[in-house]
Symmetry: C2
């Protein structure tokens, strides 16, 4: 189906089609489609734009990425299907960043397929949680508790996107600095993590990449101050207000 | 996967599994899963319960069903997958009600499959828009504009669930009385129709069935007064307020 570029929700419909393509290719599973729909509802309440509170959270994420030793982006089926290009671009701007495939509904086959999809598009630093694990994440059952030796096992900063609450809470509890990307500011994930970016994944990655490029000129002192000044509870409250306010006018879905 | 009945979101997870079963059986398509996820987000903001404004809309729907000559429930893949039993129960309590299969992404095969699914579960009055159409709905393209001779073509009242805005608007414009079932009170469907039930489909059908049973004792005068007293814009405003208020406390998803 052709989507006219003039459609007011063109980007959202395009993402949906990318996700369905990923589903047909075996990267995404059925419940990933349902999860995407939940995100769509919140995104349209946000006006499908990167709001100021997201920009603030992105700015601190940039500072954290630049000052971290071993940052890891935890990639699942949905994020690989809709944002592979942006994720690879991010590893080019921040080349110490590792992409680690970790799936809620794990299968070796799907994990491998996602890793290969990222590599085929040019990713060089991709690992899988289920391959060569060096440690396990306490409090998480299932194969997804595995932490790859070259990725999560030695990471000091983890970015999770569209993540389930149990794993996010376990990561924070295990001492990781965690940045979450979640369109629902009231989700357990957004509530648990030290930094919560309430924004759509592909959109915020573009903003994060631009921010990282600007921040390369910024002093370490300034980056550290940005991190210590950051207050995530204020960000979440602003996101909740924005969604509430999004519900006062008539929005067409 | 077994869902423990003690899970706080047991019903919601059960529905999701029913939908995925319907997807595997070919009743539901991929974009139906995404649409369901959007509904889930709104339902959890409503507290996953039938609110007072929905009860008021259900009460007027009951009166309209009892006073209509030829009511039709327009059934799509998602509603057949999650609510077949409740829909059939509804036709037993209101036996002039016809179920008409009409699909956004139409295929003869899927339409037939849905009709057969309903019949296998005991439905006797099932028709398909695409079979023996007697008229077309102006302003709608695609095979879904067809109106079955025994169903929509002679209907005076139409119930639509999880319907797209274009068709809902076209139905109202064509002179139908339309009751919509939609979890988003700001959707074009909810905004266009004469009665908007903002509630989850299976939950509200149980309430509607009970209401119809009670209303069989109610006089025609009283039912007519209930219809003339009804103000849908107030219902929508109450639904919007409820969702806004649902966003003040921390809800776990």
């Amino acid at each position: 189906m052709e989507i006219p570029t003039s459609h007011p929700r063109y980007k959202s419909l395009l993402l949906r089609h990318q996700l369905i393509d990923g589903f047909k290719a075996g990267l995404v599973i059925d419940s990933g489609l349902i999860a995407h729909g939940r995100g769509e509802a919140f995104d349209y309440l946000l006006g499908e734009k990167t709001c100021d509170f997201a920009k603030d959270a992105i700015a601190v994420t940039s500072a954290m990425l630049l000052t971290a030793k071993n940052p890891v982006f935890s990639v699942n089926g949905n994020s690989a299907a809709i944002a592979a290009k942006e994720l690879i671009e991010l590893t080019k701007v921040c080349n110490k960043l590792t992409l680690e495939v970790n799936l809620f509904y794990h299968s070796d086959e799907r994990s491998k397929k996602i890793a290969n999809h990222l590599k085929a598009l040019g990713a060089t630093n991709v690992v899988e949680s289920s391959v060569s694990p060096a440690a396990i994440l306490p409090g998480v059952e299932s194969p997804r508790r595995k932490l790859n030796a070259e990725g999560m096992a030695k990471a000091d900063l983890v970015l999770v996107a569209i993540e389930d609450g149990d794993r996010s809470e376990a990561l924070v509890k295990a001492g990781y600095q965690v940045v979450s990307i979640d369109l629902n500011p009231m989700s357990r994930t957004a509530q648990a993590t030290q930094v919560s970016i309430v924004d759509e994944l592909t959109r915020l990655l573009a903003t994060l990449i631009a921010q990282l490029q600007n921040d390369k000129e910024v002093s370490l002192d300034q980056l550290s101050r940005r991190i210590s000044d950051y207050d995530n509870s204020k960000i979440l409250n602003r996101a909740i207000s924005a969604i509430r306010n999004g519900f006062t006018c008539e929005v067409k879905i």
